[in-house]
């Protein structure tokens, strides 16, 4: 039994994959708390697709720099969504639908027409542990550090603007800047975890750990670390299982997350459901917030 568990660890590629999957799960679980509580799950889903467009476009022209290009593309998409939703009559969901799916379609078209000099199409969509470079690991570590620093330094403003953006706005919190910062962190987190989790599955790992954590606690602080731990465990266990099952890492990580969700739901029952049911409730009306508020 022990030999079987230790067997994949003899491979350097698996050791790297395990590290990246665990860190990716933790990072997405951490960021996911803010995304889920803000009702921005669809943005996470959309941004991962938008990043794919940049990923495909930049690997054509500068294979070594495609990560940077995809990151810039993702950040630009995130800020475009925020601006379009704030400044026009187009709702946020419609803005996400248009901008991110167009970006994804562009990525698919570029892949189909020109092929790839970077990661394979399937790997980009569903995740792979093959070919993880030290630079990607350092990049992921840097994004983890940046995200941790952002949340630590702006914790109160983030909490206030997540709970009650209207009142936070009039209480001295620059809500627009906090939202923009969160969007940038989200884009970078998606980009850094794309390799292992995959474009189509990143959104699930943003949502599942945070929802499971919400079912387990009524405290924001506890939800934050619980979601991080749950994400890390899903990444670790999912990566292991993907090795034995011979399926893409992203799919197995998300499936482990789904199993954890089901088990916690069964244990917490109605209480867990009641807690998570409120995740879609972001106030009946928006009485005070100014309709136009520049970032």
């Amino acid at each position: 039994m022990m030999d079987t568990i230790l067997e994949p660890l003899q491979f350097a590629f698996f050791q790297k994959g395990l590290l990246v999957a665990t860190l990716s799960g933790a990072l997405l679980g951490f960021v996911g708390v803010f995304i889920v509580l803000r009702g921005m799950s669809y943005i996470g889903h959309g941004l991962s697709h938008a990043v794919f467009g940049g990923f495909a476009a930049f690997q054509l022209f500068a294979a070594q720099l495609y990560i940077i290009g995809a990151g810039l593309w993702g950040i630009a998409s995130a800020l475009a969504i925020t601006q379009v939703a704030r400044r026009s009559r187009v709702g946020a969901d419609a803005a996400i639908g248009v901008i991110t799916t167009a970006s994804f379609a562009l990525g698919v078209a570029l892949f189909a027409k020109f092929g790839t000099s970077g990661p394979a199409f399937d790997n980009a969509l569903f995740g792979s542990i093959l070919g993880i470079t030290p630079m990607q690991i350092w990049g992921l570590l840097a994004v983890c550090a940046l995200t941790g620093a952002f949340v630590f330094l702006r914790y109160r403003a983030l909490l206030f603007s997540t709970f009650d953006p209207d009142v936070a706005d009039v209480s001295g919190v620059n809500v627009g800047r906090i939202e923009a910062g969160l969007m940038i962190v989200l884009s970078l987190a998606i980009l850094a975890t794309l390799t292992v989790i995959g474009v189509t599955l990143v959104a699930a790992m943003l949502v599942i750990p945070a929802v499971v954590a919400r079912m387990l606690t009524d405290s924001f602080g506890r939800m934050l670390w619980l979601s991080t731990v749950i994400g890390a465990v899903c990444g670790l266990v999912g990566m292991y299982l993907s090795y034995f099952a011979g399926v893409p890492s992203g799919t197995m990580i998300v499936l482990v997350g789904a199993v954890v969700f089901t088990v916690v739901l069964a244990i917490t029952g109605g209480k867990g459901l009641r807690r998570s049911a409120g995740l879609d409730d972001h106030g009946a009306t928006e009485p005070v917030r100014a309709p136009v508020n520049a970032l």
């Binding site: 630590f152 109160r156 919400r214 049911a277």
Partner: protein, 261 residues
């Protein structure tokens, strides 16, 4: 204190227009907020009460007119209870501490911040609820929690959006008494409401709004059939009860019958 405002001016609006995307909601509004003011803004839905509140808060810029604010102005705002996500994972303590956004970088509170939060919760009579989740509070306790969060910022002007909406009569009474106490302690208070009778009994100054300021003064000055018809576009009967004007919601033919009798 008179409550109608004779002290130094905190906010001065002169012939202000305001609205959204080119459509004017408020026209030519003159409105002053004094340091000793305790005012209720009343009017029907869509009359511009919330727009006026937004202009006072500074989250909506006027499209016309002139506006000035005192350098000493420190505003706190209490939102409508209906607009809050009560399932959000925070305790009463965490919620009150949210308003302390400047000065401290680390997420956890200092000893003195803990003491400050505890003191303001004690002042509002909910110190024993600090570790409760916000969903576990009654309507009155929820309103007190938001007042505690507002007071932690040490404001000299408190703005409240419909503080008596969606609460029972007893809670409404408690909340308005509490606001009266805060006003007695020297805080200017401006609130919006639909609730004419509750305001007449507790507030010294009312402003009737319907796209413009229809009338402004004491409840006796403002709660009259003529002003109410101009404000709400419907005829209402006003009776006197224990020295206070009371609005009776009656059908026009009943009002006619009573007046002819």
């Amino acid at each position: 204190m008179t409550g109608t405002g004779v002290g130094p001016i905190l906010i001065d609006m002169l012939a202000v227009d305001a609205g959204y995307r080119g459509s004017h909601v408020l026209h030519n509004v003159d409105f002053e907020v004094h340091e000793d003011q305790f005012t209720g803004i009343v009017g029907p839905s869509g009359a511009g009460k919330t727009t006026l509140l937004r202009v006072l808060l500074g989250t909506l810029d006027p499209t016309g007119g002139a506006m000035s604010r005192s350098k000493d102005l420190r505003i706190s705002y209490v939102p409508q209870l209906e607009t809050v996500n009560w399932d959000f994972p925070v305790t009463v303590f965490e919620c009150v501490l949210m308003s302390r956004t400047s000065g401290r970088i680390a997420p956890w509170p200092t000893k003195s911040e803990r003491a400050e939060v505890q003191a303001v919760l004690e002042r509002l009579g909910i110190s024993d609820l600090a570790s409760r989740h916000i969903r576990e509070l009654s309507g009155g306790q929820q309103q007190r929690m938001f007042l505690a969060r507002a007071l932690l910022r040490k404001p000299n002007l408190l703005l409240l959006d419909e503080p008596t909406s969606g609460v029972d009569v007893s809670t409404r009474h408690d909340v308005l008494h509490l606001l009266g106490d805060l006003h007695e302690d020297g805080m200017a208070i401006v609130l919006t409401t639909h609730d004419l009778n509750g305001m007449a009994a507790h507030l010294p100054h009312l402003v009737c709004v319907n796209g413009r300021v229809v009338a402004s003064g004491t409840p006796h000055d403002v709660i009259t059939p003529h002003v109410l018809e101009q404000t709400y576009g419907a005829r209402m009967e006003v009776l006197e009860h224990l020295g206070m004007p009371v609005v009776v919601d009656a059908a026009p033919e009943m009002i006619d019958r009573r007046q002819s009798a």
